[in-house]
Symmetry: C2
Subunit: 470 residues, 2 copies
């Protein structure tokens, strides 16, 4: 694929009716997203998931997708579908209709499920991660079909309802012959992408894996008066000591023996992509209110560590008295949520085994490991030279008028290995988020203008990937 | 004082009308306690305290105490009062009308403020610690005055409303000339006492001090997606690492340099009292559901450590996501409640300074220390040879028909230094609790029969301490 000015102008002219259609229907498209964002589809709490699948299916059918719900044993259904096109290629759109929990509620400026439009942004849980992307892609299909007719390629959609809890049932679909056939396509547009703090769109090739556990200490059959502290075991201490053996406060390395054994060092091409742009240290310092990155890393070092390091993160701590003032209690129970982000070729099940062995060896056999999300997820990578990568990068450049930032992998996690990686399907992340979208945090938001650009980018991509030689 | 069989019989005969009065009014006395126990006077949350002071004053007046409320600047009032008697001695009754927070609510079998009577017990927050004792003492005053007339000694009462948060304003009273005069008496019956698992009443001489802090780590201005974990600081890790430097998991010793410097080793008399009875290891194993005491201590070692060791206790942990399932968040905030029990002559203010210096030296200058209870409290001791000690022990022996367990100090804390210790007033703890009273925990309770015995014990004590030669 090449991008000379002549073909770019021709392309823009060919797309003009569809792009104009988008501009004329912004309000309606935003309302469509508001409808979906008002569904409180928190997968961690199995909340409103079948109802949300129904809404998604209805929205997809409304833009001409031939849809189907695929039931999963133990989880909410997939919504899959196709829009047949004229060309030989098939492009898959992967999104999820579930969202992260909305707490802590008191830090939101508006109801997380009100999808309030304010100051040019849409605010609500999931608008960035990733209902905004799901809806933008459906809106692109509508705009194309209403103005340009048949698509130049077949578009296949796969929307799931458990991405935020590690897609524990998705493998049921991809392990069937039919499922394998459906997902083995020429390229997959992954769920999300974000503008960096300088406003450039980021495009990501691959993602990390994840395994999420709860560590539980229990020291007695009930909370006791803390005057017992000198002789009765304390669950909060047991947990604190056990946690402290997991990660080095100085090097920030995980201390579980064997944790790094299977880590594939990034290849030269990945390092080259990572090194093109350091993280904007000053921007993030201000944005996140931090003194700097851990270990004093500069922006270049931080970019590499962000993309290529596996992590060991305390995501939550609970024990004893948590109210105002004091309560002199000796806690009987203490729990920590611990999130491990994995890189190729770490194996989630092996990480759990290593963690168990480590805790036992350190004297914390009493600290229980509860696996929250079944088997965990493996990391995935996409070949930077795959045609879909070039198509996404070039159309982003054309659409956004800026050189996109191509990243060799996302620091986040998704079921990319199970859906694409294991079948050799290249997956490319792009989307409508911004550097302050606050994914997984209070005041999640997207900028409406970014949503509109995301729709238009998909139109460019359908055209470019559909028409370019295979 | 001596206790020959003749005088014991004479004493019992003299007290008979009052003891019979108690038996006839058990139901009414329990209802009186229920009324007080239904006041949700949680001092940590400044809840219902003035209202509860009014109820306490009304109950005291109803049994003939000349009462007065003493306002304290920044805290709920003291209720003080006197019942003048014929003899030269003055006995002080110290109790508190505040209670610990009632959470976790879901572990209670009945509403913590319903004061439900069930299976021969009264269940509710504060019935043991220590509204049951407060009311038992008022009931003893009523029984005496209704049957025997004038008391043989003057009884002074002092009821406060902030014991459970460290009595931060009580010193306002004891630092005035009038306050000093009122509390400088011949002996003080301290708030509480409990039967041990074998059913013997315990009598305690002195108590530990306490200083309670919240440690707070803050790593960013908001919770972030945990994919940032490899480069952005995590408050939960900062707090965990900082906490782990405070206490050794193997020796269970506090690791803050200087923490033990001012500790007065217990003297021979204290050790002798402590060594009379080991802790009943098997009983506590079953009662608390523990494998054993920390460090593998046997009952004798555990008794000494329980009484004489200062402690460093995590009483609560809070950070990040604490709901069901998973949320892959990088917490911006993490807090721990940390409770230090102190022994003579540790100084609460110095402990805070040592803690601060230690955290700074360990690299945790970013971890903030918030003092929850003002200045903290110092430990206190009572001379085992003081006349009030003999009177309480001998009357307990007479009343309960068992040899009481005299302990050189309580493992718990109270304002004994500020109220008694600093004026040389001997204080003796005795009361109506049992080994499963669940103080500070769900399902707090007292056995009604113990409540009745506690009332009778006070009648014996008024008689013995009032009539014995000074």
């Amino acid at each position: 694929m090449s991008l000379d000015p002549t073909s770019l102008a021709a392309e823009r002219e060919r797309l003009a009716p569809a792009l104009a259609y988008v501009e004329h229907h912004v309000d309606r498209f935003v309302e469509r997203l508001q409808r979906l964002a008002r569904m409180p589809s928190v997968s961690a709490q199995a909340q409103s998931l079948p109802e949300t699948a129904d809404v998604v299916e209805e929205l997809a059918q409304a833009v001409g997708v031939e849809t189907e719900q695929v039931p999963l044993d133990g989880g909410p259904p997939l919504v899959i579908g196709r829009v047949p096109g004229s060309g030989p290629r098939t492009l898959q759109l992967y999104n999820h209709y579930d969202v992260q929990p909305e707490d802590p509620l008191d830090l939101w400026d508006s109801d997380p499920f009100a999808a309030e439009l304010r100051d040019g942004r849409l605010w609500g849980r999931g608008v960035s991660d990733n209902k905004g992307n799901l809806v933008a892609r459906l809106c692109a299909l509508e705009a194309w079909r209403q103005t340009l007719g048949e698509l130049p390629l077949t578009v296949s959609v796969l929307f799931e309802g458990e991405e935020e809890i590690g897609s524990p049932h998705l493998h049921q679909f991809t392990s069937t012959a039919r499922g394998r056939r459906i997902v083995t396509v020429d390229g997959c547009i992954w769920e999300a992408g974000y503008k960096d703090p300088t406003g450039r769109p980021t495009i990501s090739l691959g993602c990390k894996g994840d395994v999420y556990v709860e560590l539980r200490a229990r020291s007695a059959n009930m909370d006791l008066h803390s005057s017992w502290a000198s002789v009765v075991p304390n669950a909060a201490w047991r947990l604190t000591w056990a946690l402290a053996t997991l990660k080095d406060p100085t090097t920030h390395r995980c201390l579980i023996p064997g944790f790094y054994d299977r880590v594939l060092e990034p290849n030269a091409r990945s390092l080259e992509l990572a090194d093109r742009e350091p993280l904007e240290a000053d921007e993030y310092r201000e944005l996140f209110g931090i003194d700097g990155f851990v270990h004093g890393w500069d922006g270049g070092e931080a970019r590499r560590h962000l993309l290529f390091d596996p992590t060991c993160t305390i995501s939550g701590l609970t024990s004893g008295y948590q109210g105002p003032g004091s309560k002199t209690v000796l806690p009987a129970d203490a729990t920590a949520k611990v999130d491990f982000r994995l890189v190729p070729d770490q194996d989630p099940a092996e990480i759990i085994r290593l963690l168990r062995r480590h805790l036992d060896e350190q004297g914390y056999a009493d600290v229980e490991i509860v696996e929250i999300e079944g088997e965990g997820e493996r990391a995935a990578r996409t070949d930077p030279d795959a045609p879909i990568v070039g198509a996404v990068v070039e159309t982003a450049r054309a659409m956004y008028g800026k050189e996109p930032l191509l990243l060799p992998t996302m620091p986040g996690t998704g079921p990319q290995f199970v859906l694409c990686g294991q079948f050799g399907v290249p997956a490319v992340g792009t989307g409508v988020g911004n550097a302050q979208s606050n994914n997984h945090a209070p005041n999640e938001n997207i900028i409406v203008a970014d949503f509109v650009e995301g729709i238009k980018h998909m139109l460019w991509l359908f055209d470019r990937f559909g028409r370019s030689p295979a």
